[in-house]
Point group: C2
Chain length 416, copies 2
């Protein structure tokens, strides 16, 4: 009965008439697990509440258990208990799924019950149902998402108001849009959990967390955003999954995209997921990625959908194959935005250009605003090159006397 | 084996491996109805083709018939024959659905088979599957769509290049983006058919074509678009469905929306559908609304989805109630952009303002660019008022000496 649970409960109560009338599904909410029964919960009847999970998990009358605990334990234990007791599980918990899904899926399968997880990625946006029920004809080559509202709010405000990261973070914390400890969001970990699920479903192969690269927004400067803007680029924390030549890459990092990209206009706490597929082409879904009622909508949709499946099915991830490290590509291709602090002396640019060339990196454009003034960076935009080449180049540039690479931001071009 | 049919065939052929592997669905394309067997169709084997519909409709081996004929007849007769022969029908044909669906649905129900129609609205965008399988928790209050690619292409080009309607239409025709006879598209009829289906599904009540208002883009001037732009407004041909107080309004017309609206950035031939719902809030889906492979993707998705339903179901429209004219609202509320040609003489503006006031129309703002110069209109933006009041006001203004209303464009504000 936290944020998502109470939203789901209110929808189940307030929209019971339409759900039963349209879908033919009648249901009763029999109980809700809480930590503290004495806490006042407004319009939620006290007699539903229990502090004993067994009241729910062992109740033979219960068909479906919805889980919104977050984190691995005790969620994992409760989900397994529910599945073993023959109950279908609906969950909004990305962390337990990303960490434990082979075990959960196996348990669901063994018990002939389902696991549904629409609410675990992008809140109310029905991206998981879309992937399962509308993309059957397609090989999906790319999935890109703005799937963390906090960081999108921060980057949008930095861009629109020209403020620094720490300034906007404080504001976001004061209005409740960022947690007191924002680490999970701003370091890209929340998005990485979601990308693990999203790319597993999109590419029909398990993408474990350990193969998802993540890099947060804490080092993004307002100068980078401003210079990018002048170049027609918008900065987003993107979760990017690609499948090329049977190899998957999955990565979360600050990314410049052209202003004309459909994700560039997604501002504030809004979420969006972009798919690129062989038959359908591009598809974008955008909407509320968090919040009590939007996420509750996804939970209730799963409950209704699950209850209408005539044969009980597990429904987590369809897997083509066993997955090993070889299935993943960590040396991905990208364009790059590189900001370098360089002293104004003869031969410096030649040295930098030489390092790029030696690492197979070709420069697309260079901007140096006020030559010679200390503390003003030189910006390079590269053509498509390889991540590991770029890492090596950055190391080598950093070892040149007086030079340092102040920013390295990947650019997702429309053409890629 | 036209545009959509050949796209669906190519996907069924080229992606058979993934469809069978992932979905467990094996299928054989047994035949395809064509007008002319001798016409060369590239990679499509001639032995599939037949000119006799009975070869397909009466073949006892056939489980699913997909229909892409367009229009009412012979599509209606063939669909009924297929349904009566126990075959599920997948159709991309908005016209036969909008005109005949009660009959088709009854026939499907009587025969215990299905009708699926994802491809009939917005091409590849899975809006129908989303409405059926992801919105169960929601009362949808508003559905708005850019669901005609031709008109969106024309309006986008007019706006971006400052060209006139007829200029852009000619260009669109020359590159095949507009038909030689563009009437169905530019008069809003194509979008009206789609809105009939979309609002029927969204509002769980039949919305017959005769209750869908439609008005095209042929009278839109580049001046209107330019003035709107200065006011922060973008012009789109919107298909709008709303349900308020159990009454439905369904209308297609040129509409100004704020530049910040999620539909304002949908340019060119791209389609998009926006939903507003009580639990989920706003949701936008955008993608390719036409084309051989995108529409084929929706057809194949329906074929796979249909073949996985363990109990045969019809699946056209879930209807709450019988629908009569009383269920519809033709006197809808909107804001308006009104352009008036007025002579520069004392008392004219007072007379216009008087007409508005007498019809309960309140002015939000007025722009008069170069007062007194003949041929320069005065632009009014109104607050929310009623359609029938506005119609009456326009008639009355037109009857004032020397005055004429050159444009009346509805404005869909973010707040509505």
């Amino acid at each position: 009965m936290g944020n998502v649970g109470s939203g789901a409960y209110r929808i189940l109560r307030d929209n019971a008439d339409i759900i039963t009338h349209r879908e033919g599904v009648k249901y009763t909410v029999t109980g809700a697990l809480v930590r503290d029964k004495s806490k006042s919960r407004g319009d939620i009847p006290n007699e539903l509440l229990t502090t004993d999970p067994n009241d729910i998990l062992n109740d033979p009358e219960v068909d479906i258990v919805a889980e919104f605990l977050g984190g691995v334990e005790p969620a994992r234990t409760y989900i397994l208990q529910a599945l073993n007791n023959g109950k279908t599980v609906v969950t909004a918990n990305k962390v337990v799924l990303a960490n434990c899904w082979p075990e959960l899926e196996e348990c669901a399968r063994a018990n002939g019950v389902g696991i549904y997880c629409e609410a675990s990625v992008a809140g109310g946006i029905p991206i998981i149902r879309t992937l399962y029920t509308a993309m059957q004809a397609n090989r999906i080559t790319k999935v890109m998402g703005i799937i963390n509202g906090t960081t999108n709010y921060i980057l949008s405000a930095m861009s629109q108001q020209g403020k620094s990261y720490s300034e906007v973070l404080s504001e976001a914390q004061s209005i409740g849009l960022a947690e007191p400890d924002p680490t999970l969001d701003v370091e890209g970990l929340d998005a990485a959990y979601k990308l693990s699920l999203l790319s597993s479903i999109a590419f029909h192969g398990k993408v474990p967390m350990k193969y998802v690269y993540h890099e947060g927004i804490t080092k993004v400067s307002k100068q980078d955003i401003a210079v990018g803007k002048e170049m027609g680029l918008t900065l987003k924390l993107l979760a990017i999954g690609k499948k090329e030549n049977d190899r998957i890459e999955a990565r979360v990092h600050p990314t410049f995209i052209p202003n004309s990209h459909p994700l560039a206009a997604i501002n504030g706490a809004t979420n969006a997921v972009y798919l690129d597929c062989d038959a359908l082409g591009e598809l974008v879904l955008s909407g509320q990625g968090a919040g009590s009622l939007p996420t509750g909508s996804a939970v209730v949709s799963d409950i209704v959908y699950a209850s209408k499946q005539s044969t009980p099915t597990y429904n987590t991830f369809k897997n083509d194959d066993n997955v090993s490290e070889n299935c993943f590509n960590f040396n991905w291709e990208s364009e790059y935005f590189i900001s370098i602090m360089a002293p104004d002396r003869p031969g410096v640019m030649a040295a930098v250009a030489g390092v790029f060339a030696a690492n197979n990196i070709s420069i697309a454009s260079m901007v140096q605003k006020r030559s010679g003034e200390p503390g003003v960076p030189v910006i390079f935009l590269t053509h498509i090159c390889h991540e590991l080449d770029m890492k090596r180049a950055i190391e080598q540039i950093g070892s040149l006397e007086g030079l340092s690479v102040s920013s390295c931001i990947r650019v997702e071009a429309l053409s890629k």
